[in-house]
Symmetry: C2
Subunit: 260 residues, 2 copies
């Protein structure tokens, strides 16, 4: 069983990609809606929550953990790997690798929460492999609440995206990493503001592809179910109307959220 | 000692008003930044957090508790009064009473978080006393993140306020309750959009006045300190840069936030 956690509902963009790419694997998701959002909180607090979320998923039978949250991936991955024996997959490396193979100019933009951008993890991962590349990062803290409110096509959202992307305008980037699992829901608006020449990299999709490749190489890591018997359970620490609305938008179908 | 809690830093507008009106009383504040915001979470979760926050303040010596958060006041006051012996003061009644004495037309607007508006507590409190009055409520969930980001004078914030206040436009209200302790920081923008004829009621200031009157009537409720010896301690469950910035804006001086 594949375990996935996020601060709330944004990580469901990862879960959906996993469901589509790996239909024969059972999946257990935990969204920490009671403590959402993580991205504006401290590294110590995010790490504490991530440890508890992982424990919950292991109790439910997870054999591998995906941290479907860039903020938690940025600051808590090492602590989780020290604490737990199972493979811990984060969303940064797959997105960074995709950005490296996508860019032609070596000029890459990254947008994310304050926690993710402050950690500098995308710069470290990209420039660790390619010291000749340039990474330009911008924190976009209001985009998560805008997505959670369902304001994914409002004029105000477009203006806020324009304001956030403005410092990247003269950096001549050709690749822009959506370094937050909420941002795929804003992809059309971000693409419009980033310009046609910039290719967007979706950390959610790249992480699902990374897990698919990992399980192809190491098939014994996670139990594969009989065809048609895989289960998908979505647990949350709080149940709100807007969570259910956004979940339906992400999956394009109603999703049962189970309150723990 | 007066105990005050809030989901984060918005309740500091209440603490500041208490400091100014009651300078001879010690004050202990708890801001639950690690779990902020409360306003979009469920009543059960907000009540659970409020019980824990009150326990913390009592351990620190609080003799009276102010719930400096409209969301928690709306859904958790009864539970706190059942659980604890000390007086529990909420922010709804003082603001509702002020609105009743302010309006001439009997047409009152209320803005707040989703939890506050959904609870219907302002309508119940106002119309419970004046069944002939009309209360028009609008949830404004994005205003808390905008304040916490310090976007208190941005064009996007003005547009979002205009969108939220739009349904109140033809209701001919002459009084508008700021039913969230974050909103006093947006008062100039809200006043501009509400129109000159609408008088704003600030739940933070009204609550501080209410406590001042209570202590004048029942001076033994809370220990009064020797002149010049009152202490003011501000505890938080997480420490972030933006919390410190907003705290400085509210108090117009640096404030030491103590991480628990």
């Amino acid at each position: 069983m594949i375990g996935i956690f996020d601060s709330g509902i944004g990580g469901m963009t990862v879960a959906r990609a996993v469901e589509q790419l790996l239909p024969d694997y059972s999946l257990v998701y935990f969204g920490d809606i009671a403590r959402t959002p993580y991205g504006s909180k401290s590294a110590a607090t995010i790490t504490d929550y991530s440890l508890r979320n992982t424990e919950f998923l292991l109790q439910k039978g997870a054999e591998i953990i995906i941290i479907a949250c860039n903020s938690a991936s940025s600051v808590a991955t090492e602590a989780l790997r020290r604490e737990f024996q199972v493979p811990i997959i984060e969303v940064i490396t797959p997105a960074a690798n995709k950005a490296i193979t996508t860019t032609r100019s070596g000029r890459i933009g990254v947008i994310g929460t304050r926690a993710t951008i402050r950690s500098g993890v995308y710069e470290q991962t990209i420039c660790g492999q390619r010291p000749d590349f340039h990474v330009f990062s911008e924190a976009c803290p209001l985009l998560v609440p805008l997505v959670e409110e369902g304001w994914t096509n409002k004029r105000e959202t477009k203006m806020i995206i324009r304001r956030y992307l403005h410092p990247l305008k003269d950096k001549q980037i050709d690749t822009l990493v959506l370094g937050c699992t909420h941002y795929p829901l804003l992809a059309p608006l971000i693409q419009a503001r980033a310009g046609r020449r910039a290719t967007l990299v979706d950390s959610s999709v790249e992480t699902a592809k990374y897990v698919r490749n990992l399980l192809a190489e190491q098939p014994l890591l996670v139990t594969r179910e009989e065809e048609g018997t895989a289960t998908h359970r979505y647990y949350v620490s709080d149940l709100t109307d807007s969570a259910q609305t956004v979940a339906r938008k992400i999956f394009e179908r109603p999703v049962e959220l189970i309150l723990i």
